[in-house]
């Protein structure tokens, strides 16, 4: 909402510079977004009478004019072809300005010129530059300031009015807040109307068919108006708040709108057929051309103002072309109505029309403000368009809306704010805001004017009081008596733990976009039904992601394209899928990716080693071991994400994740220039397996005995099978089995490998002797030989 300070000052007197006023308004909840100083388009311009015009001695196209400006006579050089004796013209005196030009006494080709006669374009009034502006003799006298109102400088505040304050979408509304700030009372302009004695009832008739959508409809008629340009004060007012001047009648309705916040509409009375107004809902598919020359196709939810035959306005939004006030209009039918906010809102939304009127009706106009607004407009039309106001109003208001009465207990005020505010302060604030206090003690009871539809409950009065009392007067209480609680959030704790472990393993954490394109969804999870967005900003954000892996591939791509070759990322990623029962299923995954070398930079001591399956398996092994996930096994998997060198991770036979080398087609699809590995762990499945409590086990008291063993076996025997066999045949004494070498090649046969184990034997209760271990060791060898046709490598 734009508020002109010059305009504001016609309702209230206050002394305050614009910056401080803006700050004060902001601190009562009317945030001033911009303070815009307005310089007048011209200054020191007066009406001048051209006494004589003589040719310039040294220039063909110039003339030297003697101009009477009342107090003195000026000699002015003028180049306009239409300058002649006996006309009235606007003259800029020396020291004044027009547009960018400062007017000084100058010599033009040897002749002194002490002013400037202007064209309309020079004054910024229109584009007309054919000659100087010749003024009407009847309305102007020499020496008077020309368009005085336009020569004042002003300041316009751009205020961000919150949706609960329709009353502040007006100068009077803002003036009321300013009045409360400074403790000053308002000057509400008189709406007194001189009327003719023709009764209005004989001239028009109003019927409301839908009283819910239109609780009140008020009409006045003004006859014999003279449509003309508005007086300059009116043009200047509208210009300051960004409204284009049209003609005196339309401008007056807009002026009253900006003054009171109540939207009005002026119809050309002669185009209201049968002089009837009918307020009704539109028929399905009904067509109507609005003022902006657009045909609107309506539904049964739209409200129409109709005459005896056809619609003439889209209620509360915009008038119709067919009854518009024009230069030939003689009589005016003025509408001042109160429409239901929801009805107007729905139509305005659907038709994508947001007008000054609709914005106010949507938020809630004042049902009891129709009369003041219509009378104010009528009186202005009488004054500035020479209209004759017809006696009386038609005011259809079958169920009057009465002001609410709300009580405010001072105990409640204190309970909510934590500070005691004296009753008389409370009463003053409420009264200044126009909330008339019917009782000023225990409790304070106020009558809430209907221009404040936001005030419904006691708590709303608390807000009104504190707005003007000031939050800064409430202390910050840093002593709190709190209930001690034990609401631990395990999921959050696990999330943070997992983040720390991956971070410790050298992974960088990423946070990725969850709004993704169709290809993102289809390429990785063709079988999951995604959640689709009804109103996406672009096709790129049509779906909620179904997989975190795609995001990780994005991260690899982004960074590889920027020259970083060695990368490792992880994300604790929310993924979504459509679920018929729950509608949206949110699933949290731990995803990650890595590519490049095992060292992030070249290392002078070692040759480079590229990341591979075992590198990632080792990292994930560390991760799982840190979380103490029990009974972990790895199984082959043929997941579509990964190549053959991939595996699924199980804990206690429950699958908790997969990892491996990304499939070639994914690498191609994301244009990664090198192979990459990734993993995906199910957050819930994984964290379920984190032991709640760790129980202490005795630390071995007796020394361990270590023995190495290398066995030659067929390629198809897995190391896991062999280790299992070792533990089984070794019994309790075998504490640990590690693989320290795998060898293929000569002298082994084609399909053979040699696997070397480091065995650790420990006993809980004694130091092991060689003769105790040897039989166990032999048994292990025997068992491996039998089971896998393995032979001892010597």
């Amino acid at each position: 909402m734009k508020i002109s300070l010059n305009w504001l000052k016609s309702y209230i007197d206050f002394e305050c510079d614009p910056n401080s006023l803006a700050h004060k308004l902001t601190m009562v909840g009317l945030e001033v977004e911009e303070i815009q100083p307005i310089e007048p388009p011209f200054s020191n311009v007066v009406v001048g009478y051209v006494i004589s015009v003589k040719k310039h001695p040294n220039a063909d196209k110039l003339s030297v004019c003697q101009v009477d400006i009342g107090s003195e006579k000026l000699s002015v050089v003028c180049g306009a072809p239409n300058v002649r004796e006996g006309i009235l013209v606007p003259v800029v005196k020396t020291g004044g300005h027009v547009g960018e030009m400062n007017v000084k006494e100058v010599k033009i080709r040897g002749v002194v010129s002490r002013g400037m006669i202007c064209s309309e374009r020079e004054l910024g009034l229109s584009d007309n530059h054919k000659g100087i502006l010749i003024l009407d003799k009847n309305s102007q006298t020499p020496g008077k300031p020309f368009l005085e109102e336009m020569q004042k400088s002003d300041t316009v505040l751009q205020i961000d009015v919150t949706p609960n304050r329709p009353d502040c979408l007006s100068h009077i509304g803002i003036a009321r807040e300013v009045g409360t700030i400074f403790g000053k009372s308002l000057r509400i302009p008189s709406e007194h109307v001189e009327t003719t004695d023709i009764p209005i009832d004989s001239l028009a008739d109003v019927t409301i068919q839908d009283q819910d959508a239109c609780p009140r409809y008020t009409v006045r008629i003004v006859k014999d108006v003279q449509i003309a340009p508005s007086p300059d004060w009116l043009q200047s007012r509208l210009q300051s708040v960004g409204i284009r001047s049209i003609n005196n009648v339309v401008d007056i309705t807009n002026f009253v709108l900006m003054e009171t916040g109540h939207p009005l509409h002026a119809f050309d009375y002669d185009y209201i057929e049968q002089h009837k107004i009918i307020v009704r809902k539109a028929k399905k598919g009904e067509k109507f051309i609005t003022l902006d020359d657009t045909e609107r196709i309506l539904t049964v939810d739209d409200l129409l103002i109709c005459d005896g035959r056809r619609p003439v306005a889209l209620a509360g939004i915009m008038g119709g072309q067919n009854s518009e006030v024009s230069d030939t209009t003689k009589h005016i039918l003025l509408e001042s109505a109160y429409f239901d906010s929801m009805t107007i809102r729905k139509s305005a939304r659907r038709l994508v029309m947001s007008t000054e009127a609709s914005q106010r009706f949507e938020r809630g106009a004042d049902p009891n403000g129709t009369l003041y607004a219509i009378n104010r407009a009528a009186s202005l039309i009488a004054e500035f368009a020479n209209g004759k106001v017809v006696e009386g109003t038609i005011d259809v208001y079958p169920r009057p809306i009465k002001p609410l009465s709300i009580s405010l207990r001072s105990s409640y005020l204190k309970r909510v704010l934590g500070v005691e505010i004296p009753d008389d302060t409370v009463v003053t604030i409420l009264n200044d805001l126009g909330l008339e206090c019917k009782s000023i003690h225990h409790p304070i009871t106020v009558s809430v004017p209907t221009y404040r539809p936001d005030l419904q409950n006691e708590i709303d009065l608390v807000e009104e009081v504190v707005r003007h009392y000031g939050f800064e007067h409430i202390p910050a209480n840093t002593i709190n008596h709190i209930q001690l609680t034990t609401n631990r959030n395990e999921a959050q704790e696990n999330t943070e733990l997992i983040r720390d472990i991956f971070c410790g393993l050298g992974f960088a954490e990423v946070w990725n976009n969850t709004l993704v394109s169709e290809s993102h969804v289809k390429s990785l999870t063709p079988n999951i039904k995604p959640i689709s967005i009804q109103n996406p900003l672009s096709p790129e954000t049509q779906y909620l992601r179904t997989s975190g892996i795609a995001s990780i591939l994005d991260n690899l791509q982004w960074n590889l394209n920027r020259g970083e070759r060695n990368l490792r990322f992880f994300e604790i990623a929310q993924t979504f899928q459509y679920d018929t029962e729950k509608c949206g299923l949110e699933k949290w995954m731990i995803v990650g990716g890595l590519t490049g070398e095992c060292f992030p930079k070249p290392y002078w001591k070692n040759k480079s080693i590229t990341v591979d399956f075992y590198h990632l398996k080792g990292l994930l092994g560390s991760f799982l071991s840190r979380l103490q996930i029990p009974d972990i096994t790895f199984q082959t998997t043929n997941d579509h994400l990964f190549e053959d060198n991939s595996a699924a991770i199980y804990s206690k036979k429950k699958k908790i994740g997969i990892f491996g080398e990304f499939q070639k087609h994914l690498i191609e699809c994301w244009s990664l220039k090198q192979q990459a590995y990734g993993f995906q762990l199910d957050f819930e499945a994984l964290t379920e397996e984190i032991p709640k409590i760790t129980k202490y086990k005795d630390i071995p008291k007796y020394p361990a005995v270590k023995l190495d063993l290398a066995m030659i076996v067929d390629e198809c025997v897995s190391s896991e099978q062999m280790i299992d066999a070792i533990f089984k045949s070794g019994g309790k004494l075998v504490a640990q089995v590690d693989i320290f070498d795998v060898y293929r090649g000569k002298p082994l046969k084609e399909n053979e490998k040699s696997v070397a184990f480091a065995l650790t034997f420990i006993s809980k209760d004694r130091t092991l002797r060689e003769d105790e271990i040897n039989p166990v060791f032999d048994k292990i060898i025997q068992n491996l030989s039998n089971k896998f046709h393995a032979s001892l490598r010597s």
């Binding site: 708590i459 959030n489 946070w511 920027r562 060292f599």
Partner: protein, 343 residues
């Protein structure tokens, strides 16, 4: 005439000795070996000095030339020994360690800056007795709007550019629905913060992202008031940005709080004196807060005559951008290593 030597044979002898010297020098491995060679050649009774003694046996007219050659040998021996000595002692230094050589490189894991900031926020509020609650990102229209006193058709819905899944499901526009979910399942006292991802239909630019992260706070109990809210926000401001932080509350409008406020912190750049970042005001806008609207209590069955509460929100990105002076919100989600590695 017993040992008359010609200049020619003398020079040949010098050449021979130089060759022997060089080959002997090639054999040596330590400073000790080098000392042996030095004594043998350059010592007082060494080869070179014995050659000087033989100079007298050369015919006088040839003596000068022979002397010159011998001097050259002497010079060569002493210089070569010196440089060899340098390189031997230098090898000793190398054998110790060159501490300036790079160590074994390792990947340095990083926590995302938003994780770091969120942890700090959680730490602060957990210290003040708040627990952590969560809710779904795909949220029902009821929890996201209706139960927060934003009925269908309410102009306040315009304040949220909502992303819809269907007519009844939205991507939550704030984490405030978690308030309702918690209050439905728990009787007062309630003290929670709810961090999480939210969505708005905003075109991405330096200060907007269609998804972003909020922390919602809620406290409901007997005798909870606005002064307590101010205390909590002040404590948070000081925890996050330093003990000289000031806070400011401005009246505002949110349907689920009444009275509602926007709260500001003193500008981090100029510490309240006024600068370009804060447009000269000395304050930067953080987020909204207020007392829980009794209408909301009605939706969850709390008695507003018995309980009061306050609620507040904050944007994690906003706090992180202020803290780290990050100019563009999109940097958080590009996940560029050159960005992530800074934190």
């Amino acid at each position: 005439m017993e040992s008359q030597v010609t200049e020619k044979s003398f020079v040949q002898r010098i050449q021979q000795i130089q060759n022997e010297f060089e080959s002997e020098l090639n054999q040596i491995k330590s400073l000790k070996d080098l000392e042996g060679v030095r004594i043998a050649y350059a010592g007082r009774k060494g080869v070179v000095s014995s050659l000087f003694k033989q100079l007298g046996n050369i015919p006088p007219e040839e003596r000068k030339a022979a002397g010159q050659s011998l001097n050259l040998l002497k010079q060569f021996v002493s210089q070569t020994i010196q440089s060899r000595e340098n390189s031997l002692s230098c090898r000793n230094v190398k054998q110790k360690i060159d501490i300036t050589l790079p160590g074994e490189p390792h990947y340095t894991g990083r926590l995302h800056p938003l994780t770091q900031v969120l942890r700090e926020i959680k730490l602060c509020f957990q210290n003040m007795g708040f627990s952590i609650a969560q809710g779904p990102e795909v949220e029902s229209e009821y929890y996201n709007f209706e139960a927060l006193n934003i009925p269908k058709g309410h102009p306040a819905r315009d304040m949220h550019d909502t992303i819809f899944v269907d007519d009844n499901l939205v991507l939550r526009t704030h984490t405030s629905p978690v308030q309702i979910r918690v209050m439905e399942n728990q009787s007062p006292p309630v003290r929670i913060i709810a961090p999480g991802r939210c969505y708005r239909r905003d075109t991405p630019d330096a200060s907007h992202s269609p998804f972003f992260h909020q922390v919602e706070g809620l406290c409901v109990d007997k005798n909870v008031n606005f002064a307590d809210l101010k205390g909590v926000i002040l404590t948070f401001a000081r925890h996050m940005f330093g003990s000289d932080m000031k806070i400011r509350f401005r009246p505002s409008f949110f349907p689920f709080t009444e009275p509602s406020a926007e709260y500001d912190f003193s500008c981090l750049i100029c510490r309240g004196r006024g600068c370009r970042v804060c447009k000269g005001t000395g304050w930067v806008e953080i987020s909204g807060a207020g007392m829980v609207n009794p209408v909301v209590f009605g939706y969850v069955g709390y008695d507003p005559e018995e309980y009061t509460g306050y609620a507040f929100g904050m944007g994690i990105e906003r706090i992180a951008m202020l803290l780290f002076e990050i100019p563009d919100i999109r940097l958080f989600f590009e996940n560029d290593m050159r960005f992530l590695n800074q934190f």
